[in-house]
């Protein structure tokens, strides 16, 4: 078993208690990705600005967490029970953070951010508990867990990222406590530009690491 698979094996039981898919195969790409620095990531759009709360309930500006470092940000809600949705996103962030921890060049230049889109239930305290499950006993680049005070403050941020959350018209999703959405994670450069957006089909750890390195090389040049 190689080191990558060992990492995966250690994370298969997600802190949320939800069984996530075995992403050990995620690096078994059906292709050879282009080498870091051999391609240019598009400047897709600016990361949105808005008020957020950290796990201590302190009001912050989102830009504090989307500029100054290369940032991988995912949008989740902590009660999501879809093993191929939010738990998978957090699981992949944890995996990438652990890999970055072993890369001296990346470690000091990266940041991870998890932002909730369920302000009704994901209080700062709920986010702290959720964060503990991923941070406790592990080291790596900073990983910030954020929420918002209200839907009113959340919606402009969601719109800014283009992260849509839906509801069944018949009320079934709301009744079940579900917030259907498309899994998305955003790679943001140190200037606050979103340079790649990963949905499930794109969210392959090796490719994400290559993209991070590409941004790093871009900064150096």
């Amino acid at each position: 078993m190689n080191a990558g698979l060992l990492v995966v094996a250690s994370l298969l039981s997600a802190p949320s208690g939800v069984a996530v898919q075995d992403v050990g195969k995620a690096d078994e790409l059906g292709f050879v990705p282009p080498a870091p620095g051999s391609y240019v990531l598009q400047h897709i759009l600016r990361a949105p600005e808005g008020p957020v709360l950290d796990v201590r309930g302190q009001p912050r500006r989102l830009s504090r967490f989307t500029t100054g470092k290369i940032t991988l940000l995912s949008l989740i809600y902590t009660s999501c029970g879809d093993g191929s949705g939010c738990p998978l996103a957090s699981h992949l962030l944890a995996q990438l953070r652990e890999r970055a921890d072993g890369n001296e060049k990346l470690r000091s230049r990266l940041r991870f951010v998890t932002l909730s889109f369920d302000p009704d239930n994901d209080t700062p305290e709920a986010m702290r508990v959720y964060a503990d499950g991923y941070l406790s006993g592990r080291t790596g680049p900073p990983w910030n867990f954020l929420t918002t005070r209200s839907r009113r403050e959340l919606v402009p941020v969601l719109n800014g990222f283009g992260q849509d959350v839906w509801m069944a018209v018949d009320g079934s999703s709301e009744k079940a406590g579900k917030l259907p959405h498309l899994l998305k994670a955003f790679l943001i450069d140190r200037h606050g530009w979103i340079r790649e957006i990963y949905t499930t089909s794109f969210f392959q750890p090796l490719v994400v690491l290559n993209d991070m390195t590409t941004l790093l090389l871009e900064e150096q040049h």
Partner: protein, 443 residues
């Protein structure tokens, strides 16, 4: 009422199930012909068929328009036009594409190169025109926006031509979902490339993007009758397909595919590593597939009708399981079905004349419903009584296409029916009740 209620519940269940699928690495696509990055799969009963329609001078308001047809059999207005949005001008309406979040339909004009963005999230029954993008030519030099293909947060727009010589050399423009230009990529003109473009199709699991090639504005805006009598003009059709490294957006291999390869469809069957296209002028199905060494190869695998009679294959639609392919041939008005169980040897198992001229074809996810439209290009459509304009819906039981409904686009004073996309009302935007939520247009 009970029927409608059950239908709604089933729709919602199908929608929710679709989210699970889109979040799963095993899921690859929407209603078989869309980008694999589009969320909110419709795998149940579609509620609407959106039809991007070319205006006809003197018919109705004469303008291009987005027409909404009620496609849910449980509805009182099933098979009827329930809404239309005119854009106030004619610009050779052609193809459409959904954004990855399925909030918007982008629709293009091949003549005026305008791109219209319709909001279909707020009220799926009544799309609204929320933005008009007019900078394609100025920002890229490309004209004739043809294919609109979703990437996360972006739309790839494949041009057909250029503003310099109106020939076929063109490129791909990338816009973000807000309508701002992000990047441009010229079609390759070296290493065997002819620089032409037409369709785009992505296989994310292989990190590949495939493009096909058609013709420039000089050709597609000329009447078909005049064009076929001009040997020099007939030389200016695309004869290539290009394989791109998707991540790098760089061409990696150019295939010789003579005769204007048009629509591209990847097999959505998990584990498959192939796509098909149909060549308009040489009337063949081509297979693009990895060989045993992992190298991509292209080969002609079947004839479509009698090529010597130029039946002109136009649109194709692949089954969700990759086991069958619909092909429309414009000139003879036939709809063909090919068994693709062995993609290297497609076998035609059915054909039927479905109109005097037929172009686009779309099918529901389960393959049981098939929609056909009539118009190819304003100057290529037939004339006189052969110039039927319609959307016809059929039931498919594996053996026969049975009529379900028809909308006569001339009688309804709508225009020429071209590209179709399916819509649903099962989901709505969460937090839509939040005061001050900005509309799509201002995002």
């Amino acid at each position: 009422m009970l029927r409608a209620s059950i239908s709604s519940m089933w729709l919602a269940a199908a929608w929710l199930a679709s989210f699970t699928l889109i979040a799963s690495p095993g899921a690859t696509a929407d209603e078989t012909c869309n980008s694999p990055y589009i969320g909110n799969l419709i795998k149940g009963q579609e509620d609407y068929v959106y039809v991007w329609t070319l205006g006809i001078e003197g018919l109705g308001d004469g303008s291009d328009k987005l027409v909404t047809i009620d496609a849910n059999p449980a509805s009182k207005t099933y098979g009827k036009v329930i809404h239309k949005v005119s854009v106030g001008r004619r610009g050779e309406a052609h193809h459409m594409g959904l954004t990855d979040d399925r909030r918007a339909l982008w629709a293009g004009g091949l003549d005026d190169s305008r791109i219209y963005v319709f909001d279909i999230a707020k009220n799926p029954a009544k799309p609204r025109l929320v933005k008009t993008i007019t900078d394609l030519s100025a920002k890229t030099g490309y004209v004739g926006p043809h294919t609109f293909y979703a990437l996360p947060g972006r739309v790839l727009v494949q041009g057909l031509s250029n503003s310099q010589d109106r020939g076929g050399v063109t490129g791909i423009a990338v816009y973000n979902n807000q309508g701002k230009i992000v990047a441009r990529y010229p079609m390759p003109t070296e290493g065997g490339g002819d620089g032409y473009g037409y369709d785009i199709a992505i296989n994310p699991k292989k990190n590949v993007l495939l493009t096909s090639s058609f013709a420039g504005k000089q050709n597609y805006m000329t009447s078909l009758g005049k064009l076929v009598k001009d040997p020099e003009a007939m030389k200016h059709f695309g004869n290539t397909m290009v394989l791109w490294d998707l991540k790098a957006m760089k061409p990696t291999k150019i295939f010789s595919v003579p005769g204007a390869p048009l629509e591209i469809r990847w097999s959505l069957n998990s584990g498959d590593n192939w796509a098909v296209t149909a060549t308009a002028l040489t009337s063949k199905i081509w297979l693009i597939k990895q060989d045993a060494k992992g190298d991509w190869q292209a080969q002609a695998v079947a004839d479509i009708g009698d090529a010597s009679k130029i039946p002109l294959p136009v649109d194709i639609s692949i089954r969700a399981d990759g086991k069958g392919l619909w092909v429309n041939t414009f000139m003879d008005g036939k709809t063909h079905y090919f068994d693709l169980t062995n993609p290297e040897k497609p076998v035609q198992t059915f054909e039927k004349v479905t109109g005097k001229q037929v172009n686009m074809i779309s099918q529901s996810w389960n393959g049981e419903r098939v929609y056909i439209s009539s118009s190819l290009l304003a100057n290529w459509d037939k004339t006189g009584t052969d110039d039927e304009q319609f959307v016809r819906a059929f039931h498919w039981d594996g053996k026969e296409l049975s009529p379900a409904f028809e909308v006569d686009f001339l009688k309804e004073k709508l225009g020429r029916a071209h590209h179709m996309k399916l819509g649903s009302k099962a989901l709505k935007m969460a937090f839509d009740d939040v005061p001050g939520r900005p509309p799509l247009a201002s995002r």
